[in-house]
Amino acid sequence: MASISVFDVLGPNMIGPSSSHTAGASSIAYLAQKMAGGSIKKVVFTLYGSFAKTYHGHGTDKALLGGILGFKTDDKRIRDSFRIAEDRKVDFKFLTNEVETDVHPNTVDIHIETEDARVLDVRGESIGGGKCRIVRIDNVPVDFSGEYSAAIIVQKDMPGVIKHIAGALSDRNINIAFMRLFREGKHERAYTIVETDSSLPEELKDAIMQNKYVEDVMLVQI
């Protein structure tokens, strides 16, 4: 894993009160809105474990909604995210699920609907110190941190797709830090997650889309 930086110790710079319940929560939602890409019309948050029990007192709800609005962990607008969401006509709702307990104690499911009719379901875990992981996209278990720029490719599980993706990155001289494939089943829908050392140009999306088995490409820039 990545080495620990002095700014992991003295950081993140964040809106309080809790690195796991506030900063980590806003980071999950921030990643989710980046993945959704377009303008968000509706969002439903389902909170589990400790999130479900203490979300109000920790401002987890404001932080999650702030992340959806594109606010980073140190953005003071997080405090007013309910009002700003209403101004921007984003329909939002918070649900709790205290029945399912076999999840990480700080877990949230985020259901997003965009103006251009895209629907995305993301599950994130806040794993402490403001760090988080995305562990599910739609119904497929995945794993990435959001600490690197990432391309998330939705594809049919067929030969040659990975070669195509790697080629598109290589053509642009982009170094891959981590790359993983998750699939629903053989020849079914799959997700390739590529985390890279440098930022990803928008046109990379079109280049990867050239392959006939690729259904969608989401770019998450850091």
Partner: protein
Amino acid sequence: MDFKKAEELLEICESKGMTISEVMKRREIDQFETTEDEIIYKMQQAWKIMKESAQTPTKNAVKSMGGLIGGEAKKLNEHRIKGKNIVGGVVSKAITYAMAVLEVNASMGLIVASPTAGSSGVVPGVLLALQEEYKISDDRVIDGLFNAGAIGYLAMQNATVAGAVGGCQAEVGVASAMAASAAVELMGGTPRQCTYAASTVLMNMLGLICDPVLGLVEYPCQNRNAAGAANALTAAEMSLAGITQMIPLDEMIDCMYNVGRRLSVDFRETAKGGCAVTPSACALCKGCK
């Protein structure tokens, strides 16, 4: 340049004649392929946020989200200004600022997790108090933050700074060890004296549990940040006076981790033990599950 243990850090310091902050800066530049200007700039930004969060509530009290705290820093500040403080300027200011940061944190204000949000008052509290009382420049305080960062890094690398894993000793305990070490460097102590101070703090706060009332980062967290700041200054004073410690920092970090993992989960941020289950705390709660 890299190190994983305090003893390795001290070897580098002593063989190259460097301070802990210098080694930590060099490590950051080497490990993350960045520049000195870049890391200094980032640390200046952090220090700016720390100062603001330590000062604002001394003038304007803010009520926390959960309603358990608010106004403590202002009371302490006024008490000191009236000349009624009994602990001297540095300690009085350090505990005031430490409580102030927690007030900002609990009201959804901007803070720097150091190393966590729940323990974010100790490092700025101690450093700002020293800066004001001894007229230390911002540049020197930035060095102090790199020194503190080195101690926090060792705790993260070899143990934990999460209350859910190691209790309050891992959060406020480590924050106080960081502050103690930084204080020693700023006041002219040697790298080894810095680690003696850090080791002393971990020893003195060993076993401290994480038992937040209502599960919120408010109470007793804010009190403990003040206590941590005072603990840090106590340990720094001892070390600067030439008192050595028979248990080195690496062993105290392992010891803290070992104790932390053996704490019942009731005492690790679950609000199921300690202060959180006292009759007065329970009276505030809408009902246990």
